[in-house]
């Protein structure tokens, strides 16, 4: 190989590394979730949504919801759009289960599953939906479908940290289940530095 070819290869590799650098950035977005009136709320899901609509979900994940002792476990599931959810009938005796939802986010009826079998569903649209077993009265579950993998679930208001955030323009939001409250979203720009000390407010409607 000629010397000029070596130089050309070296130069192209350098260009490729430089071009790829922004996508490899690994920043942290952190701060505090505060609630008006210091109300104690549980299950707060803080997440980032890309302002340009390019919410990366390239690596889809499979999740499992187990049906055992006549409950969906866990009852609250957080997935990212495009993810697959497997509903496993893991009862210790012969009980059939059904899974259905009438939500505008996703309407489906997966039919009947006997003990040991499983039903599957891909969730392709962001939103919050409730699903049920048509047979058993206490079998209700909630699926939160997020637009990105950049999220964290908090058990109570307080500090949050989202790691591995690529550079770009983002909106920081939260999902809460108490309908008295709503989030005041924050627009942020992530570049080469982590963003700290954010205050995400949850206010009364």
């Amino acid at each position: 190989m000629k010397l000029s070819t070596y130089y050309a290869t070296f130069f192209l590799t350098l260009v490729f590394i430089c071009a790829a650098k922004p996508a490899l950035s690994n920043q942290t977005v952190s701060g505090v979730v505060s609630i008006q009136g210091n109300k104690s709320l549980s299950n707060i899901i803080v997440y980032l949504e890309n302002k340009n609509g390019s919410n990366s979900t390239s690596t889809n994940t499979a999740h499992e919801v187990v049906q055992r002792r006549l409950r969906f476990r866990p009852g609250l599931n957080i997935v990212v759009q495009g993810d697959l959810v497997k509903f496993l009938n893991a009862e210790n005796r012969e009980i059939d289960h059904n899974v259905y939802s009438l939500s505008g986010v996703k309407t489906f009826d997966l039919g009947l599953a006997e003990r040991g079998s499983q039903l599957e569903m891909t969730f392709d649209k962001p939103g919050v939906l409730n699903y049920y077993c048509s047979v058993h009265k206490l079998m209700e579950g909630r699926m939160v479908v997020l637009p990105t993998r950049h999220y964290v679930k908090l058990g109570e208001p307080g500090a949050f940290e989202i790691t591995g955030v690529p550079s770009g323009d983002w909106t920081l939001k939260a999902i809460i289940f108490h309908r008295r409250y709503k989030t005041k979203p924050l627009d942020i720009t992530v570049s080469n530095k982590s963003i700290t000390n954010l205050n995400l407010s949850i206010i009364k409607k």
Partner: protein, 235 residues
Amino acid sequence: MNKFVPVFLMFVFSACASIPVPPIVPGKGAVYGTLTAQSHSKIIEKAKGSGGNDDYAGPDGIIFNKDMVNYRNLKDLYACLLDPSYTGGKQINLTATTEGLSPRSLALSPGDIISISNSTSGPLTFFLADMGDAFQDLGKIKPGQTESFTIKIQGNLELGTDEDEAIKAIVFSQSGLRSKRVASGQAYSFEKLEPGSYDMIFWFWRLGKIHRQVQIQPGQNVAVHETLSVNTVMR
């Protein structure tokens, strides 16, 4: 085979006879019928096919145990008619206990009045809200007291409290919605309607809604019988 026909006809006749048919009013019309909730068709099929071998299956179909949704005994089914001339005024009574709100679901119109009795030991601050920005503050009710509130917003709402997240009801509110709350298999009717076309909605909170349209002619009754199940709401 023929000897069974009269028995079958008697059964059909007695079933029909049990539905109160509204009186004919000159120049007006009515819609009436029954509203029934039913299990998923696949579980009915399986129960019938198993010959009683499954724990919920009897020789004639499903035997509901305490863990199952007993579709035959559901109390909160709603038959609704959208009447543009209806501006509300109906009163609906609710009771709040530490177990939750009863009834657990309501179908109503803005302008209707909900009257809530607080049977808990503490004050309760009620509100109505959807998942978005629709919101109505209803105010505080002291323990042992009853207060009434006129509904002002519409949508798929939740009637909740600040103090206890378990005390809540699902509310379907739409302008001009006249509603009848019935138990599964029971009759409903909307009477003295002006002739014209009406939208009907049949709803159970866990099974969703079925939409129908009905044409009302002067001096006529129209029968609309409906079944709510996972299969019928999905079609």
